[in-house]
């Protein structure tokens, strides 16, 4: 094993897959010359050339559409949206051109593309949006949300190889987090959650940066003898329903940790999984959703900490399910 940051792990996946499969292309704003605003694509153009790694104009709809066309012709494009809030711009190409391609061709065509989308809930009301639920709603798309270096690398490799379009969410606040990654090549299947922490009192279901927040909350609550189980979904679509029901049947208490607005968010889907199964009878308390209370992200850092969910909000959520 070796130590890599989350950002380095993603870069390694891109290097490996570009080296082993010359159909893989990387493009987006600032990805080639600059190497990505956060340095994730650094060195790729130098190694693989300007034909396979290139900067685009500010044309998210245009280059997402190009990714679709190239994928339909057998390439493996990986296009970057430098802020997840930008997903609103290429949404038609992703939701319609990409997601429906296989279905409308009755299976005769594939659209194997990856949209890397960088989530960061600060900065402003537009770019700071966490929009994973928007794409999770669309048949034909897969949605991947890794929280650790090992998962980021393994899942990006799988996503690029996947025959269907994948929206791959990364989180800016995770880029510098370190973790152990195998020396040898490996991959991680899409659709399997991981047990980030085993516990018996309350299940927290989280993804992306809310996983480390949940683990921090668990550490703090452990001092009081409260034992949290943390499920890292890793992939929202397809969803590992069994991992959720297995854990909730054990703990009987569920807290959802999401950075996105709670209303009609992905947490509601997780709750539906529980509500639709026999596990619902094991619930000892109403479910808590911790997330954005339904407010656009304020620009000022002095204001947005009231809106962006934190470890303390999670702890409050855990206390709420324990008190009833």
């Amino acid at each position: 094993m070796k130590t890599l940051t989350y950002g380095e792990a993603i870069r390694e996946a891109l290097f490996e897959e570009m080296a082993s499969d010359d159909r893989v292309l990387v493009f987006g704003e600032d990805v080639a010359g600059y190497g990505g605003l956060d340095g994730v694509t650094q060195g790729l153009q130098k190694k693989f050339g300007t034909e396979r790694v290139f900067d685009t104009p500010i044309s998210e709809s245009g280059f997402a559409g190009m990714a679709v066309g190239a994928a339909l012709m057998g390439m493996r494009p990986v296009a970057e949206m430098q802020f997840s809030g930008l997903l609103t711009v290429p949404l038609d190409q992703i939701v319609n051109s990409a997601a429906k391609a296989r279905y409308v061709h009755d299976g005769a065509m594939s659209c194997p593309l990856v949209i890397r989308s960088v989530t960061y809930p600060a900065g402003n009301a537009y770019m700071g949006q966490s929009l994973e639920a928007w794409v999770a709603h669309v048949p034909g798309l897969k949605v991947v949300t890794p929280s650790t270096p090992i998962d980021a690398k393994g899942l990006l490799l799988t996503s690029i190889r996947d025959p269907d379009p994948v929206v791959f969410f990364e989180h800016k606040s995770l880029y510098s987090n370190e973790g152990l990654v195998p020396e040898e090549t490996y991959s991680i299947p899409i659709g399997e959650a991981s047990l980030a922490r085993t516990g018996s009192d309350v299940t927290i279901v989280a993804w992306l940066n809310m996983v480390p927040a949940a683990l921090d909350a668990a550490k703090e609550l452990a001092l009081e003898g409260i034992d949290l189980e943390v499920i890292d979904l890793r992939t929202l679509i397809p969803l590992d329903e069994e991992a959720i029901t297995r854990s909730v049947s054990k703990t009987g208490r569920l807290v959802i940790a999401q950075e996105a607005v709670t209303r009609a968010g992905f947490g509601a889907e997780v709750i539906a999984v529980v509500a639709n199964s026999d596990v619902v009878h094991h619930l000892k308390a109403p479910v808590e959703r911790v997330g954005n209370p339904g407010v656009p992200i304020p620009h000022s850092d002095r204001l947005n900490n009231h809106i962006i969910p934190s470890k303390d909000d999670l702890i409050a959520g855990v206390r709420a399910v324990l008190s009833s």
Binding site: T56, I58, S61, V295, P296, P298, S300, H306
Partner: protein, 323 residues
Amino acid sequence: MTQLMPKDLREMYRLMLMSRIYTDRALQLFDEGRLPTGLHPSAGQEAIGVGACYGLRREDWVIPSLRTTECFWTRGVTMQQMMDAMYGNKDSVNRGKESFHHSGYPSLGILAGTAIVAAHIPVAVGAAKAMQLKGTDNVMLCFFGDGAAARGDFHEGLNLAAVHKAPVVFICENNLHFQTAPASVEMAITDIADRAAGYGFPGVIVDGQDVLAVHETTQEAIKRARQGKGPTLIEAKTYRFRRHYPILAETRPVEEIAEWSKRDPVTILGDYLLANGHMNVSEKQELETSIIIELDSVVARAEAKQAADKSAANSTVYAEGAS
């Protein structure tokens, strides 16, 4: 067109100089970790916002680009208002909900764009259409960068403006780079103004470092718009003198930066005023000193004020009192 008098030229100079001094102070505050916001510094591009907005009617509207800080000054926003907005103070324009460059000042005829580059262009067209429908001859000025001209919203917006003969003036601040990449990445032509022909209205190139040229060109376009003759696309060739955003590294060739720094719009106008006897050296010095002194107290006041709080953060998502 109203002739500019020496006092107008001095006022334009004051606005440009103030903008430069303010911007560099804000960058310094950011570097010192005191400013809770970043900024897209306008240094080098001051002539555009000032030249275009100077002399507008109160009833006209503008939508600035992410970099057209000068729209705010020229429309009457004060340094204190701007600094309070940057600090997210309780008594500031939007209480920290949006950055200063995407802030609206409805009472000053400034509409806020969003952070989505070019999304404001069709919005400007709709606003102009409304002015037309209301039977006024007011105009809309819409500012954006060269990067925005690659977006679908730019093309759709310009086409719609042409079809509706909307009273809008599009002002492209072409500073030859977008974020970290050069213009060659975003277009296979040299002049964005050429695109206007494809929509059927005039496209004009102007020296963006020359405030008087910008003013005159914009006044022509405004006249056309007021007369119901439709939009104009003005491409101001310019250069930003600072990095795109404080945390991003410089990516532009040093020779290019050096070459353009010889054409400093603030210096160009200052020299013109001195050469034509519209201002003397000590007046120029006094002006600069007075701006710096005022700014010192502006910063001190902004830092001493209370930040907006949780109740502000949670408010105005919907109309208050609506069911």
